[in-house]
Amino acid sequence: MSVLVVVECDKGEVKKSSLEVATYGAQLAAQLGTSATAIAVGEATDASLAKLGEQGITKVLYDKEPRLKDFVNNAYTKLIATAAQQEDAKAIVLANSNIGASVGSRLSIRLQASLATNVVELPKTDGGQFTVKRGAFSGKAFSDVALNGERKIIAVKKNSIEAQHEAGKTAEVVAFSAQLSDADFADAPKQVVMQDQAGGILLPEAERVVSGGRGMKGPENWHLIEDLAKALHAATACSKPVSDVDWRPHHEHVGQTGITVSPNLYIACGISGAIQHLAGVNSSKVIVVINKDPEAPFFKAADYGIVGDVFDVLPKLTAAVKELG
């Protein structure tokens, strides 16, 4: 019996959300009195995988099949299912990412497991039940869910658990092969297109986000958002109407029907705070609102606010960040 952690890698490194997942998996393993093994997917160096020891992982399985570098739903599902069987994994932990959700849902059928996505805390395992707390109603609520199956699959929401870093601890990296055939790669992507991310920070992974709404008046003013984001090492985002009119690309749209984010800091500039927008951002730890309308609903959800004109306030904020050094 063990806990299997699915670790997503990109450009040789383990993704930040997977460091969180590894920490979650190791803590769950400790709670269950077992150890946590990881299975790595994507492009990873052995050194970056060995460093998963810092999160409490003891062993990392890695299949160097080159076609696994990009996401292939069928192949990833088979790879992880094979590892789960080999390790006799009673719990599988993955990120609540597009990869995690795609693979986790297929795995739940293949392994006859109970699946919970959007999970925000370690499970409660007392009293014979295994329950997890997960976000529901687009961030407007939580639910406690009992996982009844013998096997459990848990997809952990990004930024809901802090990654541990116990310096010096290393994991053993072990070659692994799921004996994948050409048929397993039938749904392999024909092409992968990466989009420009402001400052190179991916919005779903970002710890800080600077977001603009219709109050920014037009795409020509976005340098104000980008300047502050750059100074703060933040990703940029926007409200739905902004991406609907193509001021910003769709992948920056946050909210109920866009990306859900839960960074440590979310700065909303010229955004009214409609309930659909709040739904995707209100689990951010600290929310800052800049709006010239003191009645803007967003102020009710904010921790800090400035009633003022974004064109006046944003340059002052950027200058103040630069002064901090």
Partner: protein, 246 residues
């Protein structure tokens, strides 16, 4: 081409969420229910593809009790040809996926579309479960879908970019924007929807693998601390020294 579009019935996006006094169930009182916004992308794209490919049909499927019928009729008014309702309260994603897979198998549908997730349960699970139950590929979440004969070309969102994926029918895809501009029903659609067939069938199986014990609302915010715009830089100091987020 036979399209099956799965729709769920969800509280309107502006709904303030509350629960029954024992916190065991969502409080439906006074709440308006709509077609899950993500499912509208699936529905509209299926109808567009049907219009472009003569002889195609679009069937709408909902797992739900009789109170979901107004939204099933709305989907018919938007342009679906017929509808199936599996008469059962959706228990969990697994239960719903089992119903969808059974209908999809029986009707030999070529393309099974649904939204990325429902805005109430936010499961993002049903697509993969249905694909696996049917043993067909799943593409989730899809931002673009084109068909040429039996081959579909899809754009799938990945963190930081997109993948171009090609699959042959049958397949399952979960949809999101910017796939299409969701349609709203017109008068003629609303009139014809009344006469379109809506079949009600019993649920198969009875399994659920998860169970909600309790719902809770997030803790209330402390209240906003306002900083004078003239002194905006002060905010940055507070974010560093007080909130400790920069």
């Amino acid at each position: 081409m036979k399209f099956l579009v799965c729709i769920s019935n969800v509280p309107d996006t502006t709904t303030k969420i509350t629960f029954t006094p024992d916190n065991k169930e969502f409080n439906k009182a006074g709440v308006q229910f709509v077609i899950n916004p993500w499912d509208e992308y699936a529905l509209t794209r299926a109808i567009e593809l049907k219009e472009a490919n003569a002889g195609s049909t679009v069937t709408v499927l909902n797992v739900g009790e009789a109170d979901t019928e107004p939204n099933i009729r709305k989907a018919l008014a938007i342009g679906a040809d017929d509808a199936i309702r599996v008469n059962a309260a959706p228990k969990d994603a697994f239960f719903v996926a089992e119903q969808i897979a059974a209908i999809a198998k029986e009707g030999a549908y070529d393309v099974i579309l649904m939204g990325k997730e429902s805005i109430d349960y936010n499961g993002f699970q049903v697509h993969g479960m249905v694909g696996e139950l049917l043993g067909v590929p799943t593409v989730a979440p899809a931002m673009k879908l084109d068909m040429s004969g039996n081959t579909a070309t899809l754009e799938r969102e990945i963190e930081g970019g997109k993948e171009i994926v090609q699959v042959n029918t049958p397949f399952v895809a979960s949809c999101q924007q910017p796939m299409c501009e969701p349609r709203i029903p017109n008068m003629r659609g609303i009139m014809t929807a009344r006469t379109k067939p809506l079949k009600v069938v019993p649920a198969t199986g009875n399994a659920a693998r998860t169970q909600v014990n309790e719902y809770a609302l997030p803790p209330k915010k402390q209240g906003v601390k306002l900083i004078d715009a003239a002194n905006a830089g002060e905010l940055i100091k507070l974010l560093r020294n007080e909130a400790k987020v920069i």
